[in-house]
Symmetry: C2
Subunit: 202 residues, 2 copies
DNA sequence: GAAAAAATGGATTGTCAACTCCAGAAAATG
DNA sequence: CATTTTCTGGAGTTGACAATCCATTTTTTC
């Protein structure tokens, strides 16, 4: 997201790889244990680098966390944008995709972006902004699909596709949160099924 | 939730008040900054007690956090149980109630229980269990209302009120999370409106 | 291929936060 | 009213973790 050109400009290919290894290790650890329960040393050891390397690529832990947010945004939003939200079938495929990935971890970790947002929103305003922008892009992907459905006449003239998109994203996030808390896939399945049913009726 | 009788049994009225003051202070701080960003010393000073008092009432920070979970569950679920989920009007009133309280803090903090769950679920399995049980009770309140609607014939025979209740809770939680991230009330409004619309059509 | 820049290793430091200890005041108990 | 228990104050200890330092190696650049 908001990363200075300066930092990146000086990176050699080797440095680039090392930096990436650090970010990916950090992203995995943070997704699993949260920011506060992931120490710089954990990241250091997971990435197999020395302490000075870590601080060579990131000014401090906050900057590392920001890089992780950017990484998760790239992955999550990228994965979503590869789905189609302009047909009921596309929506159902997307639902299956999400449910499968939740099942894979029995809900643990929740949404990488949502959890990060929840933990940082009231603490690190820059991080909050980054997460907020990522969610905007995510929402936009769904919204474009539903707008297309409406344009095609697959939704009633009275329904607002933008609202429907926001509600769908909310349902997903809530489902993921409850899945994480209950260690069950069911909340995600039920929440998405409900939203798809609503879209079908709209 | 899971608090030993022993701890409480020996409390004098004065001790009870002190303990409560600590829990309430901790709850407020944790709601605002999260568990990790709230130090025992912050709580100590907010409650106006000495360090030894804090550790007189709670074995360690974890135990304090558990007490906060119990407190938030008591407040949140209690507030929800005071609403009616067995009529559309009741649901709409509830929607207004929730939106007002989110507006009051411009989304900050999110759901006291949800945020706590998000932060602790993958870290403290006891805490996760407590939050999970609280959500069960919350869900039950909504479910009973929707079941009553169905019994009355206000829902189609084919609709499953239990699923609708779970989806409603998910929509609310997701709405609250997005509200916290975007610092806007809109996600909560939109998510709840969507679910109420679905219930109306079911 | 020499000089400059970037990358790496690992020991070290300083801070902060959780938790302990002991001594004394207030309150309950019989 | 004596003694036992609970409650309170605050200084002190410990450990963990973020961050720094300096020396060395590798890579880039001209």
């Amino acid at each position: 997201m908001t990363q200075t050109k300066e930092t990146i400009a000086k990176l050699t290919p080797k440095g680039e790889r090392t930096r990436q290894r650090i970010v990916e290790g950090a992203a995995a650890l943070i997704h699993e244990h949260g920011v506060a329960n992931t120490t710089v040393d954990d990241v250091r050891s997971a990435a197999g680098v020395s302490s000075s390397q870590l601080y060579h690529y990131f000014r401090d832990k906050d900057e590392l966390v920001r890089a992780v947010i950017a990484q998760q945004a790239y992955l999550v939003v990228g994965a979503q944008e590869r789905h189609q939200f302009d047909t009921l079938e596309g929506l159902r495929n997307w639902r299956e995709f999400v449910v499968r990935s939740v099942r894979r971890q029995r809900g643990r970790g929740g949404c990488p972006l949502g959890s990060l947002g929840s933990e940082l929103a009231d603490t690190d305003s820059g991080a909050r902004g980054d997460v907020s922008l990522s969610f905007d892009r995510w929402e936009a992907a769904v919204r474009d699909g539903l707008r297309a459905m409406k344009a095609r006449g697959a939704l009633k003239v009275t329904t607002n596709p933008d609202d429907l998109a926001l509600a769908t994203l909310a349902a997903l996030q809530g489902g993921l949160l409850l899945a994480k808390i209950h260690r069950s896939v069911k909340p995600v399945e039920t929440a998405l099924d409900a939203m798809i049913a609503l879209i079908e009726l709209s």
